[in-house]
């Protein structure tokens, strides 16, 4: 993986493109558990109102507050990928990490009541399955600096109309 110049990669959703179909939740829970269950999905869609829709997964913060909050040191952050790992032996489901996360990206497994978080499908060559499946390409596996580059390119494409189009070579 090419390292980011700013920070870690993460799965991000464009709310303008997200239609709220929840296919990401099905695919995530299937990838992680072999069953379809939103309660086991590490990515969650949010419908704040009829048209305000997006999906949220772990954003791999620098100095991740969830790691700092864990009283049992069950959470660690990979220094290369930024992925948060949860040690299910140390975790006792106190949910301090859930409270510490500003994005609501950590969930509690309803069966064993322990914390679960997006690992960007790190063991799969294809990368995050939710991104692969998203029918509207609303999900992207990216970094902030890549997002910024994209924004700059889109800005210039949107705001400048070239008066002269390339002539037909004939």
């Amino acid at each position: 993986m090419v390292a980011s110049t700013s920070k870690y990669k993460y799965v991000v959703c464009d709310p303008n493109l997200c239609i709220g179909c929840q296919i990401c939740e099905y695919v995530c829970s299937y990838t992680k558990t072999g069953e379809y269950n939103s309660y086991r999905s590490r990515i969650r869609t949010v419908r704040a109102d009829e048209v305000l829709i997006t999906a949220i997964a772990c954003r791999t913060c620098e100095n991740a507050p969830c790691v700092i909050a864990c009283p049992r040191d069950a959470l660690t952050q990979d220094s290369v990928t930024g992925i948060i790992h949860i040690d299910s032996v140390k975790c006792d489901g106190c949910a301090w990490c859930v409270e510490a996360c500003d994005f609501g990206a950590i969930s509690i497994n309803p069966i064993n009541k322990l914390a679960e978080i997006c690992d960007q499908c790190e063991t799969l060559e294809e990368g995050p399955q939710c991104v692969k499946w998203c029918p509207k390409d609303a999900l992207e596996y990216t970094t902030p600096d890549q997002r910024a580059q994209k924004s700059r390119r889109e800005l210039i494409k949107d705001s400048i109309e070239f008066p002269i189009k390339a002539k037909d070579p004939k």
Binding site: N16, I19, G20, C21, Q22, I23, Y26, V27, S29, Y30, T33, G34, E35, Y36, N37, S38, Y39, R40, V46, R47, E50, V51, I53, P110, W133, P135, K136
Partner: protein, 628 residues
């Protein structure tokens, strides 16, 4: 069993009890899910010939086979009761997360019996059932009700079906709403209110397992990708509203209560206009990769701020059909309907009936007195403000709204009896259900599809307008093939309504929407989900059985061949303008079409179900019940 949970939840509102009924795999193989299983549950649990508003009329939910799996557009459930609008089967479909929650709570169906003396909010938490006091929800709109429930439980995964003020007031065409989608048309909201049931919420925490996940995932992925292509472009870009200009071109767009089939301001209420001026965003139903719902907002004028999803059927009923050319008034009407939990199609056709009554002097300005307009309303076609006011009167049963809330069949009968008029001639309903946005005078094959429809005037259960419009048959004439064409179209639609899958996916399997193009893929999806060994013929049988049980239900409720009829206007009153001008469906034509349709179905000349057919379909108990 994979794909199914093997059990149905029964809830008795009268005695506040609930119990579980286990069903064998063979039962599921016959009834599958959706409208078919919902109708079968209604068949098994209703007291025949009961009053639709009595405790003996059950509310029957049936889940979808693919609900809770990634199979595109499979997140739907069927809902059935005896319809207060038609007196026959009221079967509806709705795409929603309610069905997914129901699957994860491990219920294939929910049957709600009896009736409560206090308003109830049912909460089904996996296998636990709670009868909650619904006072805190009363008077709230459908969206507000769902929001209040989410707030109460603090869990987004609690999914609810609710009724709005329109349902609470027992408007005969009120809906059951969930996630902004409607189980509409046949008046479920009024049935719920008769039982004092305001809302049903479900939370399911279990995972859904399928027989062959590898195949299911691969197929779902491929269909999801295909659903981003040419075959769904129309739905994705403009939604179904793009039909406005197309139907106008063919002279089939209901205009001023079906007086004409072409609207001079069609451009201003078209899907294209909507896209350019009002569209905010597209959104999807549960597990749908297409997303056809065009959320549209009013930015200026007296209705600024109104926002809702706009679709062809709702749009035509509340624009051209009302002579309204201001899209902003149409969006306001639809928002009002969706939040009140009112069927926007029946609402539009009821308002257009009242407008024609006003223009013909049957109803006067003072007949429309209300708080907002104490002097009454000059309800000419095109009066958007008046239409909105009348919609509110219907919702609240205020003034003449109280009568119009009974639908065009009952309202026209009462008005004609009281005033000695003939307004039944423009009461556009079939079996009491208001007609859809395709004028049958220019669609001869569809005319029989509509007339024989088991739930009345419905474009969803018969798709026979398609061969007419596509030019596969001559839409202005009849011949001996049409009975079969109509029967085939209805059984084809019933397959989708039973699985259920949204019909907009029909071209995404192989590019071709016909049986040969879709059934083999659908069989594979069923097999991967359940572990069964279904083939092409088995898929075909799903539709035939589904349609047969609905028909049997109606026969047991007292159906006779006279019930298969068309509105007076379509039989006597030709249009004067547009591509379908001059045509009607004569009594003789209709009688002939019904004849060849019954024949094509293998029914008797009276349209009854013969015993041999029922036995062949694996329904000998049905034969016994209807006495053949």
């Amino acid at each position: 069993m994979f794909g199914y949970c093997g059990k149905i939840l029964h809830i008795d509102l009268t005695n506040r009890k609930h119990w579980t009924e286990e069903k064998p795999e063979e039962w599921y193989k016959l009834w599958i899910g959706g409208v078919s299983m919902a109708t079968r549950l209604c068949w098994e649990n209703i007291t025949p010939k009961c009053d639709p508003y009595s405790p003996e009329n059950p509310i029957c939910f049936a889940n979808g086979i693919f609900s809770g799996t990634p199979v595109p557009v499979g997140g739907k459930f069927g809902l059935a009761s005896k319809s207060p609008l038609t007196g026959f089967i009221g079967d509806s479909l709705s795409g929603s997360w309610f069905s997914v929650a129901m699957k994860r709570a491990l219920w294939d169906g929910i049957v709600i019996h009896g009736s409560s003396d206090k308003w109830i909010h049912l909460f089904i938490d996996d296998d636990r059932v709670e009868f909650l006091d619904a006072t805190y929800l009363l008077g709230k709109g459908t969206y507000e009700t769902e929001e209040a429930i989410r707030e109460k439980f603090g869990d987004d995964q609690v999914r609810s079906c609710t009724i709005g003020p329109c349902g609470e007031n027992m408007v005969r065409f009120s809906n059951v709403t969930n996630d902004g989608r409607q189980a509409g048309r046949t008046g479920h909201g009024a049935v719920w209110a008769s039982k004092k049931l305001k809302a049903v919420s479900v939370r399911g925490t279990n995972g859904v397992k399928v027989a062959d996940p590898d195949t299911l995932m691969q197929m779902s992925f491929d269909i999801t990708a295909a659903a981003q292509g040419e075959s769904t472009k129309k739905y994705r870009l403009y939604g179904t509203s793009t039909n406005m200009l197309n139907m106008n071109k063919h002279g089939l767009l209901p205009t001023r209560n079906y007086q004409e089939g072409t609207f001079e301001f069609a451009e201003m209420v078209s899907g294209e206009y909507l896209d350019e001026h009002h569209k905010v965003k597209v959104i999807a139903c549960a597990q749908c990769p297409i997303a056809c719902e065009q959320m549209s907002m009013v930015q200026t004028g007296p209705f600024a701020g109104a926002m809702t999803g706009v679709e062809y059927e709702s749009l035509q009923a509340n624009s051209s059909n009302l002579g309204i050319s201001d899209m902003r008034a149409c969006i306001q009407l639809l928002e009002l309907a969706d939040h009140a939990g009112m069927d926007s199609m029946s609402m539009g056709v009821t308002i257009s009936y009242a407008m024609e009554c006003y223009e013909k002097g049957v109803l006067k300005k003072e007949d429309f007195k209300c708080t907002q307009f104490p002097e009454g309303i000059e309800l000419n076609f095109g009066n958007g403000e008046g239409a909105v006011a009348l919609a509110k009167m219907i919702r609240d049963r205020e003034g003449i709204g109280n009568l119009l809330a009974e639908g065009t069949r009952i309202a026209s009968k009462a008005i004609d009896e009281e005033r000695g008029t003939e307004s039944y001639k423009w009461a556009m309903n079939i079996k009491g259900l208001e007609c859809p946005g395709y004028d049958a005078r220019g669609l001869k094959t569809f005319s029989v599809g509509l007339a024989v429809g088991t739930r009345g005037g419905c474009h969803n259960r018969s798709a026979a307008y398609d061969p007419d419009i596509q030019g596969e048959v001559n839409r202005f004439t009849i011949d001996e093939t049409r009975g079969k064409v109509a029967a085939d179209s209805e059984e084809y639609a019933a397959v989708y309504d039973t699985l259920p899958l949204c019909k907009f996916i029909r071209r995404c399997f192989t590019g071709k929407a016909d049986r040969a193009g879709a059934w083999p893929s659908i069989a594979k999806l069923i097999n991967a989900t359940t572990g069964w060994h279904y083939d092409y013929d088995d898929v075909d049988m799903i539709g035939i059985r589904a349609h047969t049980i609905k028909k049997a239900f109606n026969i047991r409720e007292g159906w006779t061949t006279e019930d298969d009829d068309l509105p007076w206007r379509w039989k006597h009153d030709p249009m004067t303008k547009g591509a379908s001008a001059g045509y009607i469906v004569t009594e003789e034509e209709l009688a002939y079409l019904k004849d060849i349709y019954y024949k094509a179905k293998g029914w008797t000349a009276d349209g009854m179900l013969p015993k041999e057919l029922l036995v062949k379909l694996g329904m000998p108990d049905v034969a016994e019940q209807i006495g053949v």
